[in-house]
Amino acid sequence: MEFGLNESQEILRDSARQFFAGECPMSEVRRLMETDTAFEQTLWTKLAEQGYTGITFPEAVGGAGLGCVELILLMEEAGRALLPGPFFSTVALAGSIFQSIGAAAQRKEYLAAIARGEARGTVAFLEREASWNPTDLRIVAKNDKLTGEKLFATDAAVADWILVAAQNGVFVVRKEAPGLRVTPMLGMDLTRKLYKVQFENTPADQLGELSAISKGLDIATVALCAEAVGGMQRVLDLSVEYAKTRKQFGKPIGMFQAVQHQCADMYLETESTRSAVYYAAWALQHESPDAAAAVSIAKLYTSDASRTVGNRAIQIHGGMGFTWENDIHLYYRRAKSSETMFGDATFHRERLATLVIDAAVTSAQHA
């Protein structure tokens, strides 16, 4: 048994870290977040040239053919750099769903274009009730046409395809489809824009059954957690660095235990999140029987820990941590946005309870 990374995984991680440091420094993050969509083709083309936009797609469609573990290593580095724009929405979210659903010809068209860097996608799931439970969805496609509204769809303004979760299936809506209206929502995360998506007799192609969406959503959930791990690591590094250099009462503030112990807790929370996320990725990749529980464990822990790490970081930075100029709040904003995406800690604790408490009842009754 080996829970470390192998050599090719280390190479992937290190080259991704180098790539993002060079192509997406914080000055670039801040420039892009001030734009309407946080997207620019120049950076996107470079991501595609690295093979990142097709990292988990089959080689037959121009992908790199790598697994979920490699995807999360890449997402962790993207998260550390606070990569703005539709990379997560397109590759980890829409890409994972395209891979696990739909006819082969449909899959090939979407995945090949995404891998080449020519198209982007996203998923519209939540409605006004804001439930991540598929059974709560209201929208229904009639005669392959959608009418209704979705909220909180990430990066929808730059998506060529919007995957829509409806009561009677998963549908694809093309960006030029009649009756489609995409309106910005003013979310907290400035680097990943949110949209209201409205349909009025909008043509939609069915990809598959609604139940088939869960595998792709699980992969996206773990990828989002991995992105958060990268963010937590960056926030921890910034805080430790600040605690070493900032002096008050003639000493570095990191010498005071009230500050040092906050750093120690941030380290524990970051490492524990990483353990949970790496394991969930491995369990999904190997279709382990506890994969669903592992995903919920990763998401519930990440949701709380990424917020807590941010809280501590702002406190350690004192007045500086409260300024616009300091980068911590940019990570803090994303942490809050990701906290609720795919279900917050409360949602996933209940999902885990269903899996491990109620299932235990059932098995005991059968025994």
Binding site: M1, G254, E350
Partner: protein, 395 residues
């Protein structure tokens, strides 16, 4: 990353599982609730049996009677021990902490003299580290050893000594140079507990029992050949023991935690709260799921630490994360069980209505010690802050 067991690991598991099947005593359950004093010869006999088949110290190098087991094989060993609810071994500190320290720092003569009897449980070991005025600040210890005619004369007092009442030998940290800086003047002595001037007294703790002892040393003579490591290098020797304490122990605890969380789920299903099973209460479900997740993360942190230790060769300061994590988690688990059980949670062993023979009442009180023993949570955070994150020392 490959979380499946390798064929070597599977073979190791099969071999030990088969051995346990024909050798594990079947009557441990009738002994386990008796005081440790009464069960001790039983535990010695059990360790002797493991020793005779080469299973007493799987982590030790083969040349010293171990199996040079990898960390994963060690984890498998404890998992199998737990699976069949095998009794613990009598010489827990000798095998887990002190033996490895003697292997690392001992002279050939010391190894030949002490190691075989640690393995066979012929000689039980205890650890003389903490003192009334040296707890977290261990290096401030005052028990002194003066060289006199080729012998050390030891005077002082130790506290919180596990197995002191049954110990044949003690790994004792003493001050040998009072003029040196506090970390520099310490030496580790291997002390015969039957020496004249050694007095052991029980220390009654808040649970009512006496797991620990106080030990008094009055003009105790210790031969110079019983210095472990170099004179005045005792701090490094002691830290090596503490690293083993924080690293290895956590691995074994995971099984206890897994068993406890599954029992808690069972209790939640079978305990009525406000007219329905506690397992149906939305708040308790949230708390149970959180604890379940944290027990799993404790296991995963341990597995990741194994891979790191395998790469670097020795348990490092990362062991502090495990210690911090499990000790605080156990307090949450115990508190949640109290919430599940309501007023029945407080009932102690002997009460006809006590749940699980009072283990939760005892466990709740005992768990307060977890964040104090083997390095307080505050000390663990100092270690992480300074040695892992590189922050300046705070003390």
């Amino acid at each position: 990353m490959d979380l499946n067991l390798t064929s070597e690991e599977l073979a190791f598991r099969e071999e030990f599982r088969a051995w346990l099947e024909s050798n594990v005593p079947k009557d441990w359950s009738t002994w386990r609730e008796k005081p440790l004093e009464d069960a001790f010869s039983y535990l010695r006999a059990w360790q002797r049996k493991l020793y005779e088949s080469g299973w007493a110290a799987v982590s030790w190098p083969r040349e010293y009677g171990g199996r040079s087991a990898t960390l994963m094989q060690q984890a498998i060993f404890w998992e199998e021990m737990s699976r069949v609810e095998a009794p613990p071994m009598a010489n827990a500190l000798g095998l887990g902490l002190i033996g490895p320290t003697i292997i690392a720092y001992g002279t050939p003569q010391q190894k030949a003299r002490f190691i075989p009897k640690i393995l066979s449980a012929e000689e039980i070991w205890c650890q003389g580290f903490s003192e009334p005025n040296a707890g977290s600040d261990l290096a401030a210890l005052q028990t002194e050893a003066r060289l006199n005619n080729g012998k050390y004369i030891v005077n002082g007092q130790k506290v919180w000594t596990s197995y002191g009442w049954v110990g044949d030998w003690c790994e004792l940290v003493v001050r040998t140079d009072s003029a040196a800086a506090k970390h520099k003047g310490l030496t580790v002595l291997l002390v015969d507990m039957k020496s004249a001037g050694v007095e052991v007294r029980p220390l009654r703790q808040m649970t009512g029992e006496s797991e620990f002892n106080e030990i008094f040393f009055r003009d105790v003579h210790v031969p110079v050949e019983n210095v472990l490591g170099s004179v005045n290098d005792g701090w490094n020797v002691a830290v090596s023991t503490l690293m083993h304490e924080r690293g290895a122990y956590g691995a074994r605890l995971i099984l206890t935690f897994k068993r406890n969380i599954h029992r808690m789920i069972e209790l939640a299903r079978n305990t009525q709260r406000n007219g329905r099973p506690a397992a149906h209460d939305p708040v308790l479900r949230q708390k149970l799921a959180q604890c379940y997740a944290e027990v799993e993360i404790m296991r995963l942190n341990q597995l990741r630490a194994f891979s790191r230790i395998t790469a670097t060769g020795a348990p490092g300061p990362e062991g502090s994360i495990q210690k911090l994590f499990w000790s605080e988690l156990n307090q949450r688990l115990q508190q949640l069980t109290q919430e599940l059980l309501g007023p029945f949670g407080q009932l102690a062993a002997g009460d006809e209505n006590a749940v699980d023979r009072g283990v939760w009442s005892y466990g709740y009180l005992r768990s307060r010690g977890n964040t104090i023993e083997a390095g307080t949570s505050e000390v663990q955070r100092n270690i992480i802050g300074h040695f892992v994150l590189g922050l300046p020392r705070s003390y």
